[in-house]
């Protein structure tokens, strides 16, 4: 997906120093308080009609970033300016009451785990129609029509045979389509898609990716596309940001990053991609074993403990700033 040629210069989403810390119990006793720095001073922009990718290892803060953008989680610090060109640009955090409800109509999230996000006792119709109900859109007949149309659009045809089924009567791929239909039913302009295909296999995954791409082109939807799968990011996103422990460490055009990664973490990530050739011996991934956590991290570079090229300067300095390296590439590393 590429950005529309005449995209206005003002981005749809502008996240500025976005930060979310969760209090966590730090030992077997609940009294001790520490903080998980799930998202730590992250800034980026998403243009209208663009599909912006967020990649990174498990636990690095992707889902939390996504939830912040649709206000399912409130930021500890920072701003998210939402500018759809219709209303005045606003900080999402300042929304409440009617303005929040109107925002919810424009921004939706597809969750990582389709098993978790669907109530097993509710029919497909109830599931997909829920946002309409919340937004008080349409009467009963209109809702059935709207839901049927959405099911048709995501390839669950004929819709009538799916409306009154329950989630357990669908395959994983079909459930994922239901999740897409539910997110689309109120015609949002922005969708956070959290690993929408990670549980699916190739043929279904390709189908859902095509579907989302097609809908974006037809309806002008922008995505924050969260994935840990670089091949998926490559097909879905024109630009990506690579996250590590709550920080963006590299950002730029997807193809450029995949072919010429500059941050040591991005380099390691690419070297870990399995190769579909049993006689190709992939060289070992060059990053240290110790796994880092976002709980009360030291102020130095978050990647320091695992970085193969770290030196004394990295050890004694603050976390490196995300610097512009030209051509839209940003990298946070003293040695890149």
């Amino acid at each position: 997906m590429t950005q529309a040629p005449d995209a206005p210069s003002r981005p749809l989403i502008h996240a500025i120093s976005l930060t979310k810390r969760f209090p966590v119990s730090s030992g077997w006793f609940r009294r001790d308080r520490s903080f998980a720095h799930a998202v730590d001073g992250v800034s980026f922009q998403i243009q209208r009609g663009e599909s912006f990718g967020l990649v990174g290892e498990s636990g690095c803060g992707k889902t939390t970033t996504g939830k912040l953008l649709v206000r399912l989680v409130d930021p500890t610090e920072g701003k998210i300016v939402f500018d759809d060109g219709e209303d005045e640009p606003t900080d999402i955090a300042s929304l409440s009451g009617r303005s929040l409800k109107s925002f919810r109509r424009k921004a939706q999230m597809i969750f990582q785990d389709p098993y978790e996000s669907m109530n097993p006792r509710r029919t497909i119709f109830d599931t997909v129609a829920e946002p309409l109900k919340v937004q008080k859109i349409g009467g009963a007949i209109e809702r059935v029509e709207r839901v049927s149309e959405m099911l048709g659009m995501v390839g669950l045809t004929p819709p009538a045979t799916f409306l009154f089924r329950y989630p357990h009567e669908l395959s994983g791929g079909q459930r994922q389509r239901v999740a897409v239909a539910r997110a689309l039913v109120i015609e949002p302009i922005f969708i956070v898609a959290d690993e929408p295909t990670s549980m699916l296999d190739v043929s279904i995954r390709t189908g859902i990716m095509r579907l989302m791409e097609d809908l974006a082109a037809r309806l002008g939807i922008s995505y924050l596309y969260i994935t840990h799968d670089l091949a998926v990011a490559r097909y879905m996103c024109s630009r990506i940001a690579v996250m590590y422990l709550g920080k963006i460490v590299e950002q730029g055009e997807t193809e450029e990053i995949l072919h010429n990664p500059k941050h040591p973490y991005t380099q390691a990530l690419l070297s870990a991609v399995p190769i579909p050739d049993p006689s190709a011996a992939r060289p070992p991934v060059k990053i240290e074993g110790g796994v880092s956590t976002p709980i009360d991290p030291p102020p130095r570079c978050r990647f320091y403990d695992r970085c193969p090229v770290a030196d004394a300067f990295c050890r004694d300095s603050e976390h490196p700033p995300l610097e512009d390296k030209g051509g839209g590439r940003m990298v946070a590393c003293y040695k890149a």
Partner: protein, 311 residues
């Protein structure tokens, strides 16, 4: 193995035969709904009420475990054969600390003393790349991928003779996947442990398995040493799977999609089950079950194996 549903019998596993040597790793690959997970839960005998194993046998170290009672089966499960479920993320109990859940499993199945069990949990966390500080935390404090790693730690806890891993790393990033696959390899070498590894990811299967079975519609349609299956696939379905696989750094090409959907297992197609989607299908494919084409241990069921051998 069939599922008895209101609409009729879903023939999820339909006459499948394979064996895994000690220390060997078998990869099972195929599209969603072709019966991979059904094989896995049959091997462990953890079937939902609607599932019936109608015939066949499952020999584990020479013992047929099919006729065993649930009590007898408990002696085998976790200790001799263990499993990592697909989407196991949700199988942790939300009200108990994750570390306690693994410690309990160790005490119950291996009879470890509490102090031993705590030490073992530390080792297991190192193995799967989880920080020790997470041992006393609750499942909701773990991210999706971290939960999956905890489950893998639990499956390895009792050092089983064989582990059945159903898409264990599908939800994980490549660095963690790489690490877990390498660590599992080490544990397997050290204990001479066998593995059945289920995935739809051809690249992962290429890296982890010694032998590969390609499943389609409840059957294994191609089987052989990994190298043979990848370099000289016989079955048109295997070739289609390979070309639908997206690449990260190779040439960026249009994704090929397999036309159509996997068949409805309530009433699988006649003849070769792949015929409605196969570009090489002929009249006999529609009516007669295909013959087995053999090249040494490598075989496939197909009427018209395409001449050109590159995928």
């Amino acid at each position: 193995m069939h599922y008895m549903t209101r609409a009729g019998a879903v023939r999820a596993v339909d006459g499948v035969t394979f064996s895994v040597e000690r220390g060997q790793s078998l990869g099972l690959v195929g599209e969603s709904g072709c019966g991979k997970s059904s094989i896995a839960i049959s091997l462990l005998k953890i079937l939902p009420d609607s599932a019936r194993i109608l015939s066949g046998s499952i020999l584990l170290e020479g013992v047929d475990i099919l006729p065993l009672s649930e009590d007898e089966m408990r002696e085998y499960r976790w200790k001799r054969i263990s499993m990592v479920f697909q989407a196991a993320m949700n199988s942790l109990d939300p009200v108990y600390r994750v570390g306690d859940q693994i410690i309990e499993a160790l005490e119950l199945h291996v009879g470890s003393a509490p102090s031993e069990a705590v030490e073992r949990v530390r080792e297991l966390y190192d193995l799967v790349g989880l920080n020790h500080s997470f041992i006393p935390r609750y499942p909701h404090e773990y991210s999706g991928g971290m939960k999956q790693r905890a489950i893998i730690a639990m499956a390895l806890a009792c050092e089983p003779a064989i582990i059945v891993a159903d898409e264990p790393t599908t939800a994980l990033d490549v660095i963690v996947q790489d690490r877990i696959l390498r660590e599992m390899r080490k544990v397997r070498d050290a204990l001479d442990m066998s593995m059945i590894y289920i995935s739809h990811d051809m690249a992962v299967i290429a890296e982890v398995s010694d032998v590969v079975g390609v499943m389609y519609a409840g059957r294994i349609v191609e089987f052989g040493e990994t190298k043979d299956v990848f370099e000289n696939p016989i079955h048109p379905y295997t070739r289609a799977l390979m070309s639908a696989f997206p690449s990260v750094t190779g040439e960026k090409r249009e994704l090929a999609t397999l036309p159509g959907e996997p068949p409805n297992l309530l009433a699988p197609p006649s003849g070769c089950r792949f015929h409605p989607r196969c570009p090489y299908a002929t009249e006999e494919c529609r009516s007669q079950p295909p013959p087995t084409v053999r090249r040494g241990v490598h075989w496939a069921d197909c009427w018209n194996p395409p001449e050109d051998q590159s995928p």
